[in-house]
Each structure stands twice: as structure tokens, then as C-alpha cells.
């Protein structure tokens, strides 16, 4: 499963994309818990979960969205275009 980071999440984690095994991860929330356990950079990125949005296969989803069959999960702050 490809995991993408944008804006300050990308900066805090230091990566824009990485491969993460989906094994044992049922929902987005499981994925976030798995990532936070990787260390301080991830902890810093996800320290305020209410400020983080997620898209699964390029559709905005909630944190309880299932990961089954997902090819791409992206984390980013609220959008500020326009």
C-alpha cells in the first residue's frame, strides 16, 4: 500500500511517499497508530489527529474507513487552495 504525505505532514515525516504493508491494518486509524509507533517524526506529524485529513484511493474518507483493497492512502492538513 502506498502512503503519501502532503504539506506539513510531509515536512515532519521527511518523506512524501512510502510503501507500507497493510497486513494487520483494518482501518485508517489502525494505519495511523502503526505509523505513530515508528518514532518521533511520525508522532509529530500525527500529534493533533483532528488537524489531519485522509484520502483513500484519492477520495476523502474518515479515520474509520476500511483499508481493504486500498492502493493509496494520503495524509494532509485541511485544504487551503483558492
Amino acid at each position: 500500500m502506498k502512503v503519501l504525505y502532503f504539506a506539513w505532514l510531509r515536512e515532519r515525516i521527511g518523506e512524501s511517499a512510502e510503501e507500507v504493508s497493510a497486513e494487520g491494518l483494518e482501518t485508517v486509524a489502525d494505519l495511523v497508530a502503526h505509523l505513530r509507533a515508528r518514532g518521533p517524526r511520525y508522532e509529530a506529524a500525527f500529534e493533533a489527529p483532528e488537524a489531519v485529513r485522509v484520502a483513500v484511493d484519492q477520495k476523502v474518507r474518515d479515520w474509520d474507513a476500511p483499508l481493504k483493497g486500498a492502493g493509496e492512502v494520503a495524509f494532509f492538513p485541511p485544504m487551503t487552495g483558492g
Binding site: L4, F6, A7, W8, A55, Q58, V60, A74, F76, P77, P78, M79, T80, G81, G82
Partner: protein
């Protein structure tokens, strides 16, 4: 119908002219990098998802108003104060439809399309925070829809 994400500037006059045939009214919105304490702004986006989100926003506008055409162009990359950031245009036989659709495109663009702005200032760089007023502006259409 046109939705574009690009580094290059755009030509508002040419984009609007392309919508004029068959329309009675074209409303455009152009966003510009403001100066003040901001010396530059960098626009980041989510390639692939952005284009899909813009196309969805435009399609949604077309289901709500009788539009003869609509355009959304959003730039990415580093921009200086005074540079154009983005434009939307909505064309219709009727002026009220064109005005409302252009406002709708803006409100949805600000809250539903994956763009993020980072500003450079004398005190360092900062990511622009999403504004609750933008979210509530977008929500008013849901109430009407």
C-alpha cells in the same frame, strides 16, 4: 468545460472569451498573491486527486445551475506577490446563475480540492491554516442543495 492544474500563468481574457459563445453572462474570479508581510507563496497539490476533485466540483456546479460552460485553473509552485494564483469562470444565459455558480466553484475549491499554501515571511515560512469561514461558506450550498 476545462479544469487545469499548471505552473504557468493563465490569460483571463482568452479563457473568458472561450466561454462567451452561447452565453449571456460570464462571471470570473481571479485570486492574487497578496503582499504585506508575505514575500512568496508556494502552492502544493496532490497530483491526480486534484484534477479529479476539480472535475467533480465543476460537474456538481453544472447539475445545480444551467451553465453553458465553466473553467477552473489553479497554479502550483512558487508565486510572488501580485501573481495570479487561480481563476474560475462560469457562463450561463442568466446573470444570477453565473454569479452563484462562480461563488460555488470558489467555495468548493477552497475546501474540497487538495491544495496547500505555504507563505514565506520575514519571520520564516508557515503553512496557511484552513479558515472556518471558508468551511462555513462551502456548507451553505449543502443546505441549499
Amino acid at each position: 468545460m476545462a479544469v487545469r492544474v499548471q505552473r504557468e500563468d493563465f490569460d483571463l481574457g482568452a479563457e473568458t472569451a472561450a466561454l462567451e459563445a452561447g452565453a449571456g453572462a460570464v462571471v470570473t474570479f481571479t485570486g492574487i498573491v497578496r503582499g504585506g508581510d508575505v514575500s512568496a507563496m508556494t502552492l502544493e497539490h496532490y497530483p491526480g486527486m486534484t484534477e479529479a476533485a476539480l472535475a467533480e466540483i465543476e460537474a456538481e456546479a453544472r447539475t445545480r445551475w444551467p451553465l453553458s460552460g465553466a473553467t477552473i485553473i489553479h497554479r502550483v509552485g512558487r508565486l510572488l506577490p501580485g501573481e495570479r494564483i487561480m481563476m474560475v469562470a462560469a457562463a450561463s444565459a442568466h446573470r444570477q446563475a453565473a454569479f452563484e455558480a462562480a461563488e460555488f466553484l470558489m467555495d468548493y475549491l477552497k475546501t474540497r480540492a487538495p491544495f496547500w499554501k505555504k507563505e514565506e515571511t520575514g519571520a520564516g515560512a508557515r503553512w496557511v491554516d484552513a479558515r472556518e469561514t471558508d468551511e462555513s461558506a462551502a456548507r451553505r450550498w449543502a443546505a441549499k442543495g
